[in-house]
Amino acid sequence: METIIEKSLEEAFEEKIAKEIRIEPKDWMPEQYRKTLVRQISQHAHSEIVGMLPEGNWITRAPSLKRKAILLSKVQDEAGHGLYLYSAAETLGTSRDQMIADLHSGKAKYSSIFNYPTLSWADIGAIGWLVDGAAIMNQVPLIRTSYGPYARAMVRVCKEESFHQRQGFEIMMSLCNGAPAQKKMAQEAFNRWWWPTLMMFGPKDAESPNTEQSMRWKIKRFTNDELRQRFVDMMVPQAEFLGLTVPDKDLKWNEAKNGYDFGDVDWEEFWNVVKGNGPCNKDRINTRVKAYEEGAWVREAALAHAQKRAAREAANQAK
C-alpha cells in the first residue's frame, strides 16, 4: 500500500518536473531532491556570506567616498542574498543555525573563489567584473530552477548581481583608462583572478558527480563545461575592450566552433582549494567562526529580552 502511494507521489512529482511546474515547499519530493537542494542552496547562501570577507577587506581603504559607499552597499547586498537564500533553504526543513554549524565544521562548502585574497583595489574591480560575471552565468538559469522558493530568490539575486558586475567593470575601466600604475594594478589583478574564476564553473563534466541528476530534475540547466565556454566567449572581448591581456597562452578563436579554445584549468589547484588548502580557507572560516562565537552573547540577550517582554505582556493581560 505504502509503496503504491509513494509511487504515485513520485509520478506526480516527475510529471510536474516534466511540465515545468514549480515544486513548492509543501509538495512531496524525493528525499534526494530535497538533500540536493539543501546542499546547493545553503552552499550558495554560505558563498554570499563568506564572499563578504574578501570584498569587505577593502571597504575601509576604498579610494574615494563614492567608491566606499558603492562597495559597502554591494557587500550589504550580499548579506541580503545570504538571508533570502537561508530562508529559501529553511523551507526545506533545515534551520539556519544548522546550516551555519555545517559551514563552520567544514561539512558544508562555499564557492572556492572566496579562498583567494584581495591584494589591491583592482581586485575589487576584478571580483565584480569576473567573479560576479561568472556567478551570473551560473545563476541566471536558476531563475528557471524547479524549486519555487529558490527560483524566486534568484530573480532578485540576479538583478542585483548584474548591477554589481557593471560596477566592477566600471572600476576596471577607470583603472585601465587611468595612470600607468592603475593600469598595471588592473592587469595584475586580472592575472590572479582569471583562472580561479574559470574554476567557479566546477569540475569538468566528466568529473562532476552531481550534474546528471541535477540536470534531470531541472535544478541545473546547463553543464559546467557549457557555462565555462560561454563565459570565456563573453569575457575575452570585454578584456580586449579594457586593453587587458588574458593570461592564457592557449587562448585562440576557433571559427569552426564559433568560440574560443582555451587552456586547461589547473585542476590540482582546484581540488586543493576545494579540500581546504587554498590561500585563505582557514582565515575565512576562522573569521566566520569568530564573528559567530563573539556574537553569541548578543543573540542570547536578544532572546532573553524577547522572552522577558513576552512574559511581562502576558502578565499584564492576565491582570
Partner: protein, 267 residues
C-alpha cells in the same frame, strides 16, 4: 568670480566671517558622520547576527552619504576647487574636527551600540533643529538626514534596552560600555567658538536646548534598560578642535591610503 565653483545656494548675503564659520561647522559635521560611518563599516561581514550586519551597514551608508553631501557643500563654501575626497583624504588628524566619541574603536557589539546610542540622540535633535537653519545648504542636508537619523535613534535605543534587560552577561557588558564611553558624551554639547558664534548669529541652535532633550531621551532608555549613568565623570574634549585620541590616526591611515599613495588620480 571663481568659475569652477558653482554654488547650489545663494551665499551672496554672507560676510567672509560668516562664510568661514559655516564652512568650518559643515566640515565638523562631515568629519563626524564620516568617522562614525567608517567605524560602523568596519563591522561589515563580522556582525553577531546577519540582520544586524545589514542594519549596521545601513547606518554606515546613511552616515557616509550625509558626510559626502556635507563635504561637497563645504567645498562649495570654500570655493578653492577642492573636492569631497580632497577634504576627506588630504587632511591630517589634527585638522579633523569630529568629537572624540565617534572615533573610539568598535570594541564589542555593546561598545558599538553604546557609542551609537550616545551619538544618535545628539544627531537626531540637532538635525531636527538644523532643518530650520537660515543656511539653505545645511537645512537641506539636515532635512534628508533627519529621516535617516530617526531610524538610527530607534535602532540603538532598542539595542540598549535589549542588552541592558537581556542576560546577566549582556547587562554587564553594556554597563561597562556606558562606563567607558560616558566621558565622551559631554563634548557633543560643549560648544566651540565656531558653534557659539553660529548659534549667536541664529544659524544653529544653542546646544543647551538639545542637551535637555537628549538627557530626557537617554534617561528614559537607560531606565528601561536598567543601566546606571556613572556619576562625577570628568568629561573629555578636544576632538572638535583637532585634539584627538590616538585612534584617529590609524583610522585615517586606512581611509586615506590610496589617495595618499597615488596623489591626484581618479578612481
Amino acid at each position: 568670480m571663481d568659475l569652477h565653483h558653482k554654488p547650489t545656494v545663494d551665499l551672496q548675503g554672507y560676510s567672509p566671517e560668516i562664510r568661514a564659520l559655516v564652512y568650518d561647522y559643515t566640515l565638523q559635521l562631515a568629519d563626524t558622520s564620516l568617522i562614525l560611518g567608517h567605524r560602523l563599516s568596519e563591522w561589515c561581514g563580522h556582525g553577531p547576527i546577519l540582520e544586524q550586519d545589514l542594519a549596521m551597514a545601513n547606518i554606515a551608508l546613511d552616515l557616509i552619504g550625509e558626510s559626502r553631501s556635507l563635504y561637497q557643500y563645504a567645498a562649495e563654501l570654500e570655493g578653492q576647487g577642492r573636492t569631497e575626497d580632497d577634504l576627506a583624504s588630504l587632511r591630517d588628524a589634527v585638522e579633523y574636527k569630529n568629537p572624540l566619541l565617534v572615533e573610539q574603536p568598535n570594541g564589542d557589539f555593546g561598545d558599538t551600540v553604546m557609542r551609537q546610542f550616545l551619538f544618535d540622540g545628539f544627531h537626531f535633535f540637532l538635525l531636527k533643529e538644523l532643518q530650520n537653519s537660515p543656511d539653505k545648504g545645511l537645512a537641506g542636508i539636515a532635512a534628508k538626514s533627519f529621516k535617516e537619523a530617526s531610524y538610527h535613534v530607534k535602532w540603538s535605543a532598542e539595542w540598549i534596552i535589549r542588552l541592558g534587560d537581556g542576560t546577566e552577561e549582556s547587562r554587564r557588558r553594556i554597563q561597562k560600555a556606558l562606563d567607558n564611553l560616558w566621558m565622551f558624551s559631554g563634548e557633543l554639547y560643549t560648544m566651540t567658538d565656531t558653534e557659539k558664534a553660529l548659534a549667536q548669529a541664529g544659524f544653529i541652535p544653542d546646544y543647551s536646548g538639545l542637551l535637555s532633550q537628549w538627557e530626557a531621551h537617554v534617561g528614559k532608555v537607560f531606565a528601561e534598560a536598567t543601566l546606571e549613568v556613572p556619576q562625577n565623570v570628568f568629561m573629555q574634549k578636544g576632538g572638535k578642535t583637532g585634539r584627538h585620541s590616538e585612534h584617529l590616526g590609524y583610522l585615517l591611515t586606512e581611509l586615506q591610503y590610496l589617495q595618499r599613495a597615488y596623489p591626484g588620480l581618479e578612481w
